[in-house]
Subunit: 255 residues, 2 copies
């Protein structure tokens, strides 16, 4: 089950760890950040080459196996992560088991970027996940001398706020069909931005994950998917969907 974690990678030749909270040796060659394939889409893009070396020195390459927890709601933010490969879901659980998934983090996304005292959500790996890990104290110290990076972090937080607002509109004021279409359109645009195609949309998460993200049930999500298939808007393929008429979904997601 770990041969699908080999989708090309920057450095660190060790084999994927079967359990969470893996090693990640300090020694990392100082080109890691410079060679990092997600750097251009991440906050690190604010740094100069020499600054990248300094950052690489305090970064650990850490991997998480599928279905393992990365952070837990309420835990102190002692470590922060930059996702370099794989998909992570962030969510909160109500006492009675209801769940709201805030989003799916992918390559280039930051976990803990707002540097709060404690995490306000849990996060776990949907696929095998590779991350760039920093201890909070070291990262904060680094930040101290790099106001441009802090500013970049702040901009990223602003982007996250904008995404959250988009999602509030979706949750509060959209129909089930609009929710699913909007989810797929958002995912497509995001994949395109980090360099993917616009037709084949991988969906590593389950229908239940999608439902818990959109404020729906698993059955409703499934029904809408088949409805979209009947409308020739997409076809369902193993591991995802293939979008057909780009404009069909856009219309449903509303302009």
């Amino acid at each position: 089950m770990d041969e699908n974690s080999a989708i090309a990678m920057p450095a660190a030749p060790e084999a994927p760890a079967p359990c969470a909270h893996a090693h990640g040796r300090g020694g990392i060659p100082d080109s890691v950040c410079a060679a990092c394939r997600v750097r251009s889409v991440s906050v690190c893009s604010a740094l100069e080459p020499d600054e990248l070396r300094d950052l690489a020195a305090i970064a650990d390459d850490v991997q998480f196996a599928q279905r393992t927890e990365i952070v837990s709601e309420g835990e102190a933010v002692n470590t922060i992560y930059n996702i370099t490969e794989g998909t992570v879901r962030t969510y909160r659980l109500l006492p009675d088991g209801r769940r709201q998934i805030f989003g799916f983090l992918m390559a280039g996304d930051f976990l803990g970027l707002s540097l709060p005292e404690t995490y306000g959500f849990s996060a776990d790996a949907i696929t095998p996940v590779r991350t760039c890990r920093f201890t909070r104290s070291r990262f904060e110290a680094f930040l101290e001398s790099k106001p441009r990076l802090l500013r970049r972090l702040h901009d990223a937080a602003g982007h996250e706020i904008a995404l959250a607002q988009d999602h509030m509109v979706l949750l509060g004021r959209r129909t089930a069909e609009e929710k699913v279409a909007g989810f797929l359109v958002g995912l497509r645009d995001r994949l395109q931005r980090i360099g993917g195609g616009a037709v084949m949309i991988p969906l590593p998460m389950t229908r239940e994950d999608i439902a818990d993200h959109l404020g729906l049930t698993i059955e409703t999500v499934s029904r809408i998917f088949t409805k979209l298939v009947r409308q020739r808007a997409l076809i369902i393929v193993p591991g995802g969907v293939r979008l057909l008429g780009a404009e069909a979904l856009d219309r449903l997601a509303e302009g």
Copy 2:
């Protein structure tokens, strides 16, 4: 209709402006910020007395009449505001008229704190509103030399993200009753934090505003209110509600 705008205030003795985008003369005595009653709860609390003087020098006191627009979705963020008095609603409008209200800003809240290119929402004054206005360029210049303020701004953004996540849970996974109870509990806690009582909750917004904030209809909000009255959880008074058993609502809002 403007005698209710006199709830005590720091400086600037001019009369409230009847129309939006009022004056606010540069001359402001340099104690404005130091005397500002919302400073302790606002991001400005990160500044030293002498820094406050510098900040006061680039701030304008600007007022908005009830029901006037403060910012409009899509407009460039050339000015940012710190609310010092009154209540503001931020929202997005869908083409067909559906509306999602993101939140209600009160004394100490910042409008545009994430410094994006353009506003992703509209905002208007529910009550007469008094603000501390900065031009973006001047504020950014000030920020340049005050990394601690930027860090404070970033923390505030983190708080906004946390609030947004709370609201996503509410919108996606809560029943109508839980939504209304949660709204009132959140408002109570917030008013307490900026120094208000915990029983009398002023509700300057209409039922429709509340509905559009909670993803409900005006009728459902009204029904839930009367249901809560029948349950002896609160009584409805002109301009707001009076909470009775504090724990009753908390239970409904869920722990």
